[in-house]
């Protein structure tokens, strides 16, 4: 298995009264594409700045390749950052921007020239050497920032919402470019975003954060299919989250109706949260499902229809390629393995403790 490259141990950070990161632990393996995902203000940038060396944590340490680098200056760290607003040097040409880290390292002229050419090729901007920063589009600036970040062959590239300013099409193109770059270069990527789709597309591992706590760490599939709590379920994709009661193993009561499921070990008659993804709900003829409802709303979404089905006093969000007009009565059926049961936090504090471990 790949070794741990970065290990964050008991990191806490507060600005005045505002506790931004609370006793956070996280490791990153070599050659991994890891994404920090969470809502605005949850501390993603702060964590990235601590790794990059622009901010020091109040407690805890940053271990890089087995060495404690918590107090090491940014210029001594073998990791480069692509800043949210690129941080390009306006007074230099594109070639000079990319050459900057190499010139600092006093590389030879011919080496620098070759490297700049190679880096520009990697980001598909061959021939841009003499252009000025001002003359570039947002997406081009972003790619130059990446070229500059990788040209000195750092072990890790930190990216802070680099695609935030781009339009959807360009963003999707860049997502594939980034994945290709990561595979070609063998550099570890730590990527920050609040776009869950982006995280699911690109990552080997996703770290879902909220209010300074890590909510869940896992592969995109884990995070999507088996969210560990209501926050993750709600934040990743659309979902129906119900307060439910675990009657006994493999049987859960949702809104008074009993559903078979596959989860065990939650006890008998215990309150839980149940998550059902909208695409996992099957609409069947009335009476043949587990409960019946009425379609109250429908939107065409391109690939599928998004419907709202009112059943047992709750509006169920359903995605289906079949169309049921508003007012039609339908039955609702969910396959046992498509129901995800989560322990219910009894208080905010407990939520934090559960997440901490």
């Amino acid at each position: 298995m790949a070794k741990k490259l970065i290990d964050l141990v008991n990191i806490s950070k507060s600005y005045g009264e505002n506790l931004v990161l609370d006793d956070l632990n996280l490791y990153v393996k070599e050659n991994e594409f890891i994404t920090l995902l969470g809502p605005s203000g949850c501390g993603k940038t702060t964590l990235l700045r601590i790794i990059g060396g622009f901010e020091s944590p109040n407690t805890g340490s940053v271990i890089f390749d087995g060495k404690d680098i918590t107090n090491l200056a940014p210029n001594k760290r073998q990791l480069n950052t692509v800043f949210q607003n690129y941080g390009l040097f306006n007074h230099m040409s594109i070639a000079e921007n990319i050459a900057f880290p190499l010139k600092i390292k006093k590389k030879s002229k011919s080496y620098i020239e070759d490297k700049v050419k190679y880096a520009l090729k990697l980001v598909n901007l061959d021939g841009f050497e003499t252009r000025t920063v001002d003359s570039l589009s947002g997406g081009q600036k972003q790619r130059i920032a990446i070229a500059r970040g990788i040209v000195s062959e750092p072990k890790v590239l930190l990216l802070d919402e680099p695609l935030g300013a781009l339009d959807l099409k360009l963003r999707q193109d860049m997502q594939y470019e980034l994945i290709r770059l990561k595979n070609e270069l063998g550099i570890t990527f730590i990527y920050v975003t609040h776009d869950q789709e982006e995280a699911l597309t690109m990552s080997d591992k996703i770290v879902v954060m909220n209010q300074g706590y890590i909510q869940q760490i896992g592969t995109p599939e884990d995070i999507y299919n088996e969210p560990q709590n209501a926050f993750v379920a709600d934040f990743i994709g659309d979902s129906n989250i119900f307060p439910a009661v675990m009657v006994h193993d493999k049987l859960v009561k949702i809104l008074g109706a009993e559903f078979e499921c596959v989860d065990v070990g939650f006890g008998v008659n215990k309150p839980v949260d149940a998550v059902i993804r909208p695409e996992d709900i099957d609409l069947v003829p009335v009476g043949t499902g587990i409960l019946d409802g009425v379609v109250t709303h429908i939107i065409f979404k391109g690939v599928h229809y998004e419907m709202e089905v009112t059943a047992n006093g709750y509006k169920w969000l359903v995605h289906s390629t079949d169309m049921f007009p508003v007012g039609s009565e339908v039955g609702i059926y969910v396959k046992p393995f498509e129901i995800q049961i989560m322990k219910k936090p009894e208080s905010e504090d407990e939520e934090a403790i559960v997440i901490d471990e």
């Binding site: 990059g52 060396g53 622009f54 200056a73 940014p74 210029n75 480069n80 950052t81 800043f83 949210q84 607003n85 690129y86 941080g87 390009l88 040097f89 306006n90 007074h91 230099m92 000079e96 900057f100 880290p101 600092i104 390292k105 500059r148 970040g149 000195s152």
Partner: protein, 275 residues
């Protein structure tokens, strides 16, 4: 289209009148006086008076003192501008007000205040003698004039530097550090080249008034030290010789234009050689 155009012209009207009345006409008059005799004949004689040893000395001294003052202002203001641009908004605006506050006082008053500070029996020497320290003779020396220039014109150096330094994106500096540059390299390759426009305008705003001043040298230099400004002042006021005064003013103007051209040229080269 044409409507918009004429509206723009209309709005520019008052400024045009102002510029003609207070800039163009005086300039033409100075040119006229400088290039004519009292009888109205064309001559270069007024301008040629710069070549007398006394006038050359006054010009040379004025150039020397204003260059020194400008350099001192730059050396004092640059670190201050960096500190101000790095501190939070509240404390930096307080500091800036602190430095601008004296500008709200009359220029003459400020200079006279320095006179009484530096005088033989002035405040500084009184304090020194109270402490049984040797007195020092500063008043009526070129040094006193430099003190006056620096004190009066320092804010004009601080403001443009602070402006340009505080506009540098923190992430640009972070990026340089991130890519391996140490503090000095970051300053040399990023901060300094990006602050060149502020340096240029600071230099012009200190150098030009220093070169042309006669009040500061009058008050702090006694009547012994003459700068070119004093010579021109005397021609106009004491000798009432507007022709020679204007001729010398033209010379001074040429020097100002030359220095600005040199700075503008350096600016371009500076941008080119910064990396």
């Amino acid at each position: 289209m044409t409507n918009k155009h004429s509206l723009k012209k209309l709005l520019a009207g008052p400024y045009l009148v102002w510029a003609v009345a207070f800039i163009i006409i005086p300039l033409i008059m100075i040119m006229y006086y400088g290039l004519t005799t009292e009888k109205g004949h064309f001559t270069f004689a007024n301008i040629a008076t710069i070549t007398t040893p006394d006038n050359l000395k006054a010009l040379g001294l004025a150039l020397l003192l204003s260059i020194i003052s400008t350099l001192i202002c730059l050396i004092l203001a640059y670190p201050l501008g960096m500190i101000l641009s790095n501190s939070n908004i509240n404390s930096s605006s307080f500091m800036i007000i602190l430095f601008i506050l004296p500008m709200w006082m009359n220029f003459l008053l400020r200079t006279i205040a320095w006179q009484s500070l530096l005088e033989k029996n002035g405040v500084i020497n009184s304090v020194l003698s109270l402490l049984h320290l040797p007195r020092f003779e500063m008043i009526n020396t070129p040094g006193a004039i430099i003190v006056g220039m620096v004190y009066n014109f320092l804010p004009f150096m601080i403001l443009p530097l602070y402006n340009v330094l505080s506009k540098i994106d923190k992430d640009v500096i972070n990026a340089a550090r991130d890519l391996g540059a140490n503090g000095f390299q970051t300053f040399h390759r990023i901060i300094l080249p990006l602050s060149v426009p502020g340096i240029i305008s600071g230099i012009t705003m200190v150098f030009v008034p220093s070169l042309t001043t006669f009040v500061i040298s009058d008050i702090l230099g006694g009547s012994k030290i003459l700068l070119i400004g004093n010579v021109i002042d005397q021609e106009f006021v004491q000798s009432s010789n507007w022709h020679v005064g204007s001729g010398l003013s033209l010379i001074l103007m040429i020097f100002i234009l030359i220095s600005m051209a040199m700075i503008a040229k350096y600016d371009k080269e500076g941008e080119g050689s910064a990396f």
